[in-house]
Symmetry: C2
Subunit: 333 residues, 2 copies
């Protein structure tokens, strides 16, 4: 198993990316191909190169965060993300991970790997923790404007991913909507509801956003605008609530004592809410495993994403989506 | 000041609604007109009728929660919500509040009070607490499908409401989007961005959902689908987080002691997150003050909504929106 890691993408690249890759190699999670500026990478590699389970592939260019991704990829042929993605295309790596520009990673996956035949819109899925176990939500940002058929594709791909990676058999799919009744919602969800109901998926109907955190369904489907809002809002609200809790706990002597005693538990909760623990977000619907990491990823998150990528490859979710769509059981059925 | 209260709407109607109304009357917040089944209401009224600051207007019918609102209003002329709204139209009451079907309340407001001239789409606004003070988000559910121009109307009405009720001068308006750059978003937000930039409002650009809870802007504008998702997700996530915190705090003896000491603070936080404390959600853009309460409202929330309605009337936000639109300074300018 070989994972291509974009060493130049992310707020803490290349140092933390290289560190995380070394960690993964040392733990024997996978062999690593670090892609990027040779010298910059080498500077952060230990002399033993983690027992030669790490190689470097040089790529001279990077995509800047403020560059329009498609333009960047057309102009620069040797960016680290394009080179890393090409390794997957050429069979030299089994998966690619990056903490760089999400747009560039998506563009590289579209152009170099291509879409799975029958899938019109690849989507970004995110695993989130609930008291009923890990659940999936998609799309969380790849497609700001969607047609009903796209939501059916998301439901299909999400179901397969949940089955393969979260090990949920016959996962329950919910359509994110503003009411549970069939007639509720906007034009998009009203039509998508009918299509999902007719599909072969285990469709549980509409779910309201208030039921997402409790894990009422296994796969939550929505357009990429709404999904992205939900994801970022969760991030913001969790942070604010912990802040509030800390402030309030500190208000009296009694609660200050309570806070001191409770602090380890509060920190544990923050970790539970932290989706970066879950190995990155897969871009589903392209011909290969491409895992998107948060731009703020440090070594630990990169190591987790490499592990997530390795599991993704082993689970053969890409092949399963391809088979499913080819059989016409899914979206286009 | 007279507030018409739909005594029959809500999960705990009429008992809790009447109780809340009595409380408001006793505190001299306003004179109350309780609208609904005369006998059912009378059963919960104290014998002194709060010093006759409460009167009853009989309405024989109610809108059931599962009835299509527009149909219900056409078929039943004597529902409590229609009768209460008619009191405002006829000048016999200054405002109406209800914890019943939101759809029916909106339909009644549209049909009986009518839209403010120049406003195409009335919107529901909700006040939410942040560490930078109370802020406003709209639309949170009146319009599942919006055009860019509608978002400009929301921004205009929200600005006026924030100025009048939250007492924020020249409120900063943010467009909820999935990136801060001007070019980000879906077709709706991309066009709305341009319109807002050209408007006379204090437009601060795009805001990401992660920045909503910290109160980065005074008025957050979005379509009613997205706003409703955000609102309900906040409700669900706050509940789950408190649940998680309680569970985690209870895991060891030390943290259990911490939890016992911290519990009063946790309860206080739940109260802060509770938007029903803030006096209900105004339906902006109709010719009168119509305040929507959560279906689960009890006496306290009803009392707060009556207070909110009274402040709304005093602030003359309806008149201010009308003037603003008539001068053509706003949406259509």
């Amino acid at each position: 198993m070989k994972i291509a890691v974009d060493a130049m993408g992310g707020d803490y690249a290349p140092e933390e990316i290289v560190k995380g890759a070394v960690q993964a190699a040392e733990e024997n999670i996978a062999e690593i191909i670090l892609v990027g500026d040779k010298e910059a990478i080498a500077r952060h590699l230990p002399s033993n190169r983690a027992g030669s389970r790490i190689e470097i592939v040089h790529a001279a260019q990077v995509v800047d965060m403020d560059e329009p991704p498609a333009v960047a990829l057309r102009r620069k042929k040797d960016t680290s993300i394009a080179t890393a993605t090409r390794l997957v295309k050429e069979g030299k790596a089994d998966a690619v991970i990056s903490a760089g520009s999400t747009g560039a990673q998506m563009a590289a996956a579209h152009i170099i790997l291509g879409r799975i035949k029958g899938i019109q819109r690849p989507a970004i899925a995110t695993v989130f923790p609930t008291r009923r176990g890990a659940k999936l939500i998609l799309d969380v940002g790849a497609n700001a404007d969607c047609k009903p058929q796209h939501l059916v594709e998301f439901a299909l791909m999400g179901s397969i991913y949940a089955e393969k990676i979260l090990e949920i058999s016959h996962p329950k799919v919910g359509l994110l909507n503003i009411g549970t009744e069939e007639t509720k919602g906007n034009e998009l969800t009203q039509t998508a509801y009918r299509l999902l109901k007719e599909s072969s998926l285990n469709f549980a109907g509409n779910v309201e956003a208030r039921d997402i955190p409790s894990g009422i369904v296994d796969v939550v489907v929505c357009d990429g605008f709404v999904g992205n809002v939900v994801l970022k809002f969760a991030e913001g609200l969790a942070g604010e609530m912990l802040e509030l809790i800390k402030q309030h706990l500190a208000q009296s002597l009694i609660t200050r004592l309570g806070a001191a005693l409770a602090f380890p538990a509060l920190k544990r909760i923050k970790k539970i809410m932290d989706y970066t623990e879950y190995g990155g977000a897969p871009l589903l619907g392209v011909e290969g495993v491409s895992i998107i990491c948060h731009g703020s990823s440090k070594a630990k998150e990169i190591r987790n994403a490499i592990k997530g990528a390795a599991r993704g490859v082993e689970s053969r979710y890409v092949e399963r989506i391809r088979e499913f769509v080819a059989k016409g059981e899914g979206a286009d059925a």
